[in-house]
Symmetry: C2
Subunit: 332 residues, 2 copies
C-alpha cells in the first residue's frame, strides 16, 4: 500500500498537532486544553451565561472548534478522525463551559456521539446539562452510524442561533427551546463526487467509480440514497434541494437561510454554481432566500462534494442568525 | 475520456454561473457586472478614495472577488479558468473603481496579466492608473508563465494592507508606496500533493505519481523547484519555510505575519499541522509570529497542497493589517 498522501506527520498525531497549530494561530479567540483535548473560548464563558458545548469526530473542520467564540460555542470536543470524543474528554469540557447557568450540549445524531455525551453528562454531575440532538439529514432514516436521521451541516445553524440566544442572556430552558426550534426547521442533503481517506485507515473510505456520484452521502462517507451516473450541477442540485424543501414543507412566501456547504475538496467556484441553482429552485417555489452561507463549514476531510441546507426563518431566528459572532470560521 | 468529475454544468459557463451565484449570495457586499464580467463593491467606491482593482484567471477563489469590500478591493476582474482577464474586461473595472482619486491596479506577475492590465490602463485613459506587480514566490526566478518571480498568496497581504491605506484616506502615491512596501517584504512558496483539473482542459494539469510531491509549485500547476518522494508534513514545511525566511533575510527579534494557504483540496486540519511547524521554525530563528492567517485564500481549484507566506511586519503594516475589513472571504 502506498503511503497516505497527506500533509501529516503521523496518523496518530495529526489531531493533536492540528489542535496545537489551531491554538497557536488564534490565541485571541480560543484556548486549547490538553489531557484530555478540548477547545474553549480564550476568555472562558461569561459569568451567568448558558454554556454551549459541541463535539464529534475530527476531520470535519472547521466544525466544531472553528465555531468556538463569542456568539457561538463555549467549548468544542474533538475526537480522533471520524471517531466520537470520549466521555472523559467531554466531561471536563462541560465543566469548563459552565458559568453557573448550566450547559447546552449540541450533539449530532450519531450513536457514539449521543452515547458518549450522555455518559459525560453523568460524569459531570456538578453541571446542569441539557442536550439537543441535530438530525437534519433527509437522505436516510437509519444508517450504519445512527438510529434515525444523521446530523450534518444544519449543526452550524443550531450552534450559531442557540449561541446568539445564550449571548443575549436567555436562560437554559430558553436556549434549549431555540435550539429545538432550529432543529425542527432545518434540513440537509449531500452529494459525494469522490471519497476521502482517513489517515489511520490509509485507504479511501469507500470506492466510487470515475463516472458515478453518491447522492445522500453522510459526512463520514456513509452510503446515501443511491449512486447515479455523473450529472450536471443543476441536475444534482435539484436532487438535493427537492427532498430538503419537500421535507420542510416549504410554501410560497416563506423565508429561508440557504447554506451550500463544501465537503472539503470542492472548489468555491463550484459551490456557487450549486448555490445559484438551489436559490433558483427555491425562488421557483415562491420561497425567499433572505440569508445565505456558502463555503467549507462541515467537511469530510478532502472529499469532493457539497451539501444543501435550508433553514426556515422567522423574525426571531433571522435576528439571532444576524447577531454578532466572533469565531475563527464565522465572524460578523 | 471520462467526463470531468466536477459540480459544473458546462466548462464554458462555470465562471459565469459561479459569479451569478456569488453575487446572489452576497448582495450586501458585492455587485456583479456582466458584458464584460467584473465585480465591484455593492456601494461602489467612496468619493475621493483611491480605488483598488485586481484580477486574474478564475479557479483561485476566493481570490480576487472574495476580497472586494470595505477595507480591501473596489473591483475584481475574473478571467476564464486559469486565464488572464482581457483588457476590455479590465478597463471598465478600472473606470468603475475610480472615484476621482485614481486607481491602484494590483497585478500578480504573470505575463498575460501584466500585459492585459497595461493595455486596459491605456484603454481607460480617463483614469489615473498606477500598477504594482506582486512577485512573492521564491520557488523559481522565471517560469513558463512569467519573467521574474510569480505572484502567489502574498497578493492577499498586498490587497488587505493597501486597501486599508486607501480606506484611511491615503492618496494614490501613498497607497502605491504601501503596496510596494508589502511586496518588498512578503515571500511565499508552495507544495502540491495532487494536480488539479481545469474544466475546459478535461484532464489533470500535470501528472504526479502517487508517491511524489512537487515542491515550489505555481498556482496553475506550473513546475516548481523539484519533485521529491512524499515526506512528513514537518519536513515539507521546512522545505517551504526555509527559502522564504532566507530570501527575506529574517533576523531575530523581527515580527511577521505567518500565512498558511490551502491550495483548495487540503483539509483544514492539515493546514494547521503545517502552520504549527512553520511557526516553530520561525520561533527557532528568534522571529515572533505576531499575526496569523490559515485557510483557503489563493487556491488552484481542487489541488491538494499548501503554501507558506511570510510578511515582515512593522507597526504601520501591523496596524493596516488589523484595520477593519468587510469582504466575503476576510472580515474583521
Amino acid at each position: 500500500m502506498a503511503a497516505v498522501k497527506k500533509l501529516i506527520n503521523d496518523p496518530q498525531t495529526v489531531v493533536a498537532e492540528s489542535l496545537e497549530g489551531f491554538g497557536a494561530a488564534h490565541p485571541d479567540v480560543v484556548a486549547i486544553h490538553r489531557d484530555p483535548w478540548f477547545v474553549t473560548r480564550a476568555g472562558g464563558t461569561s459569568a451567568g451565561k448558558v454554556g454551549l458545548v459541541s463535539g464529534g469526530g475530527s476531520g470535519h473542520e472547521p466544525l466544531h472548534g472553528g465555531f468556538v467564540g463569542a456568539g457561538m460555542l463555549d467549548a468544542a470536543v474533538p475526537g480522533a478522525m471520524f471517531t466520537s470524543p470520549t466521555p472523559d474528554q467531554i466531561a471536563p469540557a462541560l465543566q469548563a463551559a459552565d458559568a453557573g447557568a448550566g450547559v447546552l450540549a449540541i450533539v449530532k445524531n450519531y450513536t457514539g456521539d449521543v452515547l458518549n455525551f450522555e455518559m459525560a453528562a453523568e460524569l459531570a454531575d456538578d453541571v446542569e446539562v441539557r442536550t439537543v440532538v441535530v438530525n437534519d439529514d433527509v437522505a436516510v432514516e437509519d444508517s450504519l452510524y445512527t438510529a434515525g436521521r444523521r446530523g450534518v451541516a444544519g449543526t452550524v445553524a443550531v450552534e450559531k442561533i442557540a449561541g446568539a440566544a445564550a449571548e443575549r442572556g436567555d436562560d437554559l430552558d430558553a436556549v434549549v427551546a431555540v435550539a429545538e426550534k432550529v432543529i425542527a426547521n432545518v434540513r440537509s442533503m449531500g452529494v459525494a463526487l469522490t471519497a476521502c481517506t482517513v489517515p489511520h485507515a490509509g485507504k479511501p473510505s469507500f470506492d466510487l467509480p470515475d463516472d458515478e456520484i453518491e447522492i445522500g452521502i453522510g459526512i463520514h462517507g456513509e452510503p446515501g440514497r443511491r449512486r447515479i451516473p455523473l450529472a450536471g450541477a443543476d441536475e444534482i442540485t435539484e436532487l438535493l434541494l427537492t427532498p430538503v424543501a419537500d421535507d420542510l414543507g416549504l410554501t410560497g412566501g416563506e423565508k429561508v437561510l440557504l447554506f451550500v456547504n463544501g465537503m472539503g475538496g470542492t472548489p468555491a467556484s463550484e459551490l456557487y454554481v450549486v448555490y445559484r441553482q438551489a436559490r433558483a429552485l427555491l425562488e421557483g417555489r415562491g420561497v425567499e432566500v433572505s440569508r445565505s452561507l456558502v463555503g467549507n463549514y462541515v467537511t469530510s476531510l478532502e472529499m469532493q462534494g457539497a451539501s444543501v441546507t435550508v433553514l426556515r426563518l422567522d423574525d426571531e431566528l433571522t435576528a439571532l442568525w444576524d447577531a454578532p459572532v466572533h469565531t475563527t470560521a464565522l465572524r460578523w
